[in-house]
Symmetry: C2
Subunit: 391 residues, 2 copies
Amino acid sequence: MGYRILETDDIPAYLRERGHWDDPDDITVREVSDGNVNRVFLASNASGTRSLALKQALPWVRVAGPSWPLSPDRADAEARAYERLAEVAPDAIPAVHGYDPEHYALVMEDLSDLEVLRTLLNEGAAYGPHTSPTIGRLVARLSFATSDFGMTSADRKALLAASVNPELCEITEDVVLSEPYIEHEHNHWHPGLDDLAAAFRADTALRTEVADLRHTFMTSAQALLHGDLHSGSVMVGVREGAPVVRVFDPEFSFVGPIGFDLGLYWANALVSEERARALGTLSDHADQLRLSWEAFEAEFRALWPSRVDTFFDDAYLDRFLHRVWTESLGFAGTEIIRRVIGFAHLTDLTTLADPVPASRRALRLGRELILHRTRLTDPAAVRAVVDALTP
Amino acid sequence: MGYRILETDDIPAYLRERGHWDDPDDITVREVSDGNVNRVFLASNASGTRSLALKQALPWVRVAGPSWPLSPDRADAEARAYERLAEVAPDAIPAVHGYDPEHYALVMEDLSDLEVLRTLLNEGAAYGPHTSPTIGRLVARLSFATSDFGMTSADRKALLAASVNPELCEITEDVVLSEPYIEHEHNHWHPGLDDLAAAFRADTALRTEVADLRHTFMTSAQALLHGDLHSGSVMVGVREGAPVVRVFDPEFSFVGPIGFDLGLYWANALVSEERARALGTLSDHADQLRLSWEAFEAEFRALWPSRVDTFFDDAYLDRFLHRVWTESLGFAGTEIIRRVIGFAHLTDLTTLADPVPASRRALRLGRELILHRTRLTDPAAVRAVVDALTP
Ligand SMILES: Nc1ncnc2c1ncn2[C@@H]1O[C@H](COP(=O)(O)OP(=O)(O)OP(=O)(O)O)[C@@H](O)[C@H]1O
Ligand SMILES: Nc1ncnc2c1ncn2[C@@H]1O[C@H](COP(=O)(O)OP(=O)(O)OP(=O)(O)O)[C@@H](O)[C@H]1O
């Protein structure tokens, strides 16, 4: 049949044909696409006992339309990532019921009883004790399992070849790892940041460090990443009295540096902290980098004895984890900066009555993390930088 | 028709069918396979005006036979590497007339008027002024062209995916980057090296550094490599009065750390120097690391202004080249050591009447290069290490 774009009215027949839904008369479908890139539909029956989510990639960026083509192959990357994640962290992702590569359509668990972490945080919620540890553990499990520690050399080469994600990597290389540091039409910022935006573009030391991180992103094939692990890719809530954390939207997945996943999460945590500070609603924000790192490190160390390649010794593990830590800080810095003076900004800051002081602190923090990442040797050192920030 | 193993008598018909040879009555073929892995035939006409070489990969290691299977896909890797090399360094490789993926057979220029560099060196020849600069330039051109400096991001991802070479990489990971440092049935050495071999296996600092280099080899996707750039992969000679240098046998090619190519060349140069020292025939041996590095660096810097990605600034180039230098030293160290106490030894040393003193110096040098690679900041520092070696 070939690829076709599914509209709301097509979903019942589509789900039935694919074996995901029995009773075509008892189904209601609504579109809930609120991301920028893809379409998401929710289907449910009248009694509310059964529901599903369907995500389809269009051959362009949804909010832009056909004028911004983007290969729907990104849905393959998402499906591949979910496959790996299902093996190592099934409780921390939506259950995937099927992927249809012909239509680039993923049918998965309906998460609409949960809330996107960023939304909750923006409304003043705390992280709670489960979210960041779950993220840290998930990154550890996915990255260990898909590294040369968790897979045989030959399987790794196959994974590497199968997981290239050229168009989405290029987006990151552009919008995160270069544009904010040069003159580019994508960039925009609040006039109250003019001086810092200009200073960053003129900062040759910063540029060289970002070039280094950019090249690391392009060449360091450590493990399969989520690739876009910000607080808009995490849903949280409570089910049957138990806390639930679900990571979704891994369409940027590729084999890259592990620190990129941690760094994105940290950047978004640090920005949410600046929002809370500005609003006077600080609660557990300052703990999240540490909690996610500690969970990551503990899990990675717990998995270490099961490595397939015992030539890697314990001393190398220490060195490797230190490198991941350092690179995570650097990538966190780039993510913060691009979210303030780059293409796509964060509602955490843009919805503040006066976004300028928090944005200035965030920019300075981003710069510090990039420039001094090798000197900031633990979470306490990062705390000291945050505590010393000026607007 | 499918794959079939070509015997000497099959070659005339094969070359004619593939359009490489006109007169089937005027052709003499002889097998010259002297490598371990593949078959090589030379075809020539009676008057000697026309000749060709044909290299075919068998589905096993030639000298071992079917009991050691090895995918003939390695010939694809060789053909891919030659394709790239032909674009950037056509004068430094054999002209390739055609590749037949069905038979894993490569038809190329006959180089039998030249001599393998290792053979010449073992006979007491000097390098001369052209060899090492040609090697350094070739590595610079191939690696620049296939790095994120020389290719667009999307093309690079395609190259990466197409160039995985799992079985041959695994050989390197095993025989170069782990076995010599553990108990392994492949390892063997002269009894006069017992103490050093035991000390190396017990040296935890060395093990950790080798683990680091091993992981770099496995994850650092900087550029397409030759992958096996020792002095047995280089032919030299004179044609029409002009010096000729040809690099061949790139079947280990994959996208990896640039320092691996330089390091292999350096290791073999440093071992040839120890042979010459032992025989009292030292000539220009001590210059080769420096000459190849200087040519590599000069060529890479000359290409830099043509980079496709100008986000990478000059300061980053300096940092990047320094990293390549450091990793090259480390890989050189691993190559030296494995050639003395690992699986496959070098005739440079094994044909010495008493290989022990030169082998001991080589082992100590290998260890120094690995352990202190970050401290040895230029060729003169390496010279100082060589000068201080004891047997
Ligand atoms: N499994 C699900 N259950 C319920 N709602 C979902 C589900 N998956 C996605 N959504 C909703 O659709 C929105 C967009 O989903 P998602 O982030 O996967 O798409 P996207 O277009 O790739 O977004 P982005 O622009 O962030 O990359 C989510 O923010 C969420 O509100
Ligand atoms: N183009 C050529 N012209 C002449 N002789 C050649 C040519 N290519 C290879 N040979 C001869 O065949 C030998 C083996 O070639 P080559 O190194 O490519 O094969 P191999 O089996 O892959 O070797 P190795 O075990 O070193 O990997 C060379 O050492 C050389 O003597």
